[in-house]
């Protein structure tokens, strides 16, 4: 009797709470972010409506959406122009060839103004290259610092000195050095690209380097003893014990680095007038038309979305190389 009553009370209590739980879960995943977004848009629209600038009203969500559509259309128009240009060129060359078989066809590249999407691509490519080379240096150097106290003692003052330097302070130096050193008649990369990438790399180094060093130096001492008893050589030791142990910290560093690299790149492009999203923002600002602010706002939001996407990309990379699948990475 008593036990059946208890069961009944329990089941009464459990069923609605289970329903409530799923409901809470849905609201956490969908409803609450949606509410946050709506409140943000409403506030934005309200503030924008009451904000006069010398370039007209500050763009609200609707104006920005219009400009976003406009930028897509511009890109499509440009793409059509480009296709038409190459078609004309091909026709013209075929024509000349038919008249005069010895004619060497002269192929010229399309030289239209880079659109918003071209600029996005340039920026992504630049940050990717800068980040890649920075990581290629920072991870091994970090492992070295983590393994050897002497290496750490030698490198640590330099890390502390260079870490807080703003990328914009590096920029003039990098620009001059690249112009002086990277001399080539037929450069494979544009100088502006190299400058931006080097600046990004200089700022991407530090978080990865520091986090890798910390991760490597905090490997479980029992595992280090295993390695000593087995007399693993340095390479096997790094490969089998150090790297798997410090993967989480290395990735924390890489994610911080990529985030910083992306911020740095936009600033560098604005300052140095190097192609990319930063230049787009600066050009629009200089252009000063009534649509400029809305177009800048599109770029600003795009920068945010791409930064977010890059972090997610690193996260999924981390998930794929992480050995401990039970850890909830976020």
């Amino acid at each position: 009797m008593a036990s059946s009553t208890i069961v009944k009370i329990m089941s009464d209590k459990i069923t609605p709470s289970l329903g409530l739980k799923t409901l809470l879960k849905i609201s956490n995943v969908l409803l609450l972010p949606l509410i946050g977004m709506v409140v943000f848009l409403a506030l934005w629209a309200a503030v924008a409506n009451n904000l006069e600038t010398s370039l007209g009203k500050f763009p609200g969500p609707v104006a920005v959406l219009e400009q976003a559509v406009g930028l897509v259309e511009e890109h499509q128009a440009q793409a059509e122009k480009e296709a038409a240009f190459y078609e004309r060129q091909e026709l013209r060359n075929a024509d000349r060839m038919a008249k005069d078989p010895s004619y060497e066809p002269n192929i010229r590249a399309f030289t239209g103004v880079p659109t918003f999407f071209d600029q996005i691509w340039t920026s992504l490519y630049t940050v990717g290259v800068g980040f890649f080379f920075a990581s290629l240096i920072a991870v091994p150097l970090g492992i070295m610092c983590g393994l050897s106290k002497s290496a750490y003692a030698a490198i640590n003052p330099l890390i502390q000195l260079f870490k807080p330097i703003s990328p914009l302070a590096w920029l003039p130096l990098v620009t001059m050095v690249v112009s002086a050193v990277y001399v080539s008649d037929d450069p494979f990369f544009a100088k502006s690209f190299v400058t931006s990438a080097v600046t990004v790399a200089l700022c991407c180094l530090w978080p990865t380097l520091i986090n890798t060093a910390v991760g490597v130096s905090s490997v479980d001492s029992d595992l280090l003893n295993v390695s000593k008893v087995l007399r693993l050589n340095t390479w096997v030791h790094i490969q089998k014990i150090i790297l798997p142990s410090s993967i989480p910290m290395i990735f924390t560093g890489l994610r911080l680095s990529l985030g910083i690299g992306w911020m740095v790149l936009i600033a560098a492009e604005m300052l140095a007038q190097n192609p990319g999203l930063g230049k787009f923002v600066w050009d629009e600002f200089q252009n000063g038309s009534s649509q400029s602010l809305a177009r800048i706002m599109v770029a600003v939001l795009t920068i945010g979305i791409i930064g977010f996407a890059l972090d997610r990309l690193m996260l999924s990379l981390q998930k794929s190389v992480s050995w401990d699948k039970s850890v909830n990475l976020r």
Binding site: D220, D222, L223, N225, V226, K228, V229, L230, R231, L232, K240, I241, P244, W323, D324, S326
Partner: protein, 291 residues
Amino acid sequence: MHTSHLELSQVGIDFPTANGPFTALQDVNLKINKGEFISLIGHSGCGKSTVLNIVAGLHQATHGGVLLENQEVTEPGPERAVVFQNHSLLPWLNVYKNVELAVKQSKTVRGKAEIKEWVEHNLDLVHMTHAIDKLPSEISGGMKQRVGIARALSMEPKVLLMDEPFGALDALTRAHLQDSVMEIHAELGNTVIMITHDVDEAVLLSDRIVMMTNGPAATVGEILHIDLPRPRDRIAMADNALYNKYRHQVLQFLYEKQRKVEPVNPRKSVGGTKANAEVSAEINAEVKKQA
């Protein structure tokens, strides 16, 4: 000239602290014959693990030294394989690969087929072939320790060092593993040094029990020869008068001669003693408060 298989002579170790060097071990002398099973027993903090680590080469003795087959021990190596207290398997490698990592370091086992055979042979010794593809996180604590033992055995060590190998296991699992270790010892005849807190475990497994005094400056207190015939059966031993006498002797040493909660004997005026006496006094006060 007859020398022992493994010899610890005048081993002592000082650890640097803020109050000057702290002498953890002093004048530890021990001669161990080939194939002997030795247990080191003593209260926690008495330096048992330090003795083991010195034999393993993970710590360097400040005074004296360790000779294995007349060669001084200066660094860790597979001929002195260690079974760690908390198994210390690499969590990212499965059971097979954990053992394989050790086998690949071996100089006698070569070639893919031979490595595979040797890994499987050692896992078979500890009855773990059924979980060969499992990650350490997927098997129980007892199974992990079995794999740890297989990994140590696969190095074909001259001396097997076990640091409280069953300390983290429940009583039933521990009994199973003790039986396994006795079985393996009977089959392979390795020299074994095992650290333990467990009096029954020490008496059941050992040829000799080395009882250590409390630190600081801990050393060998008494050595007890266990003259029980092998194979030993734990159920038969429960009623064996000799077994119980040995057991009694160890207990007497631990709980009468070397009682832990007493203040440190002021006679031993070594560096760090004062700090230690203060700590002991604090512990005593704490114990009284709780009582």
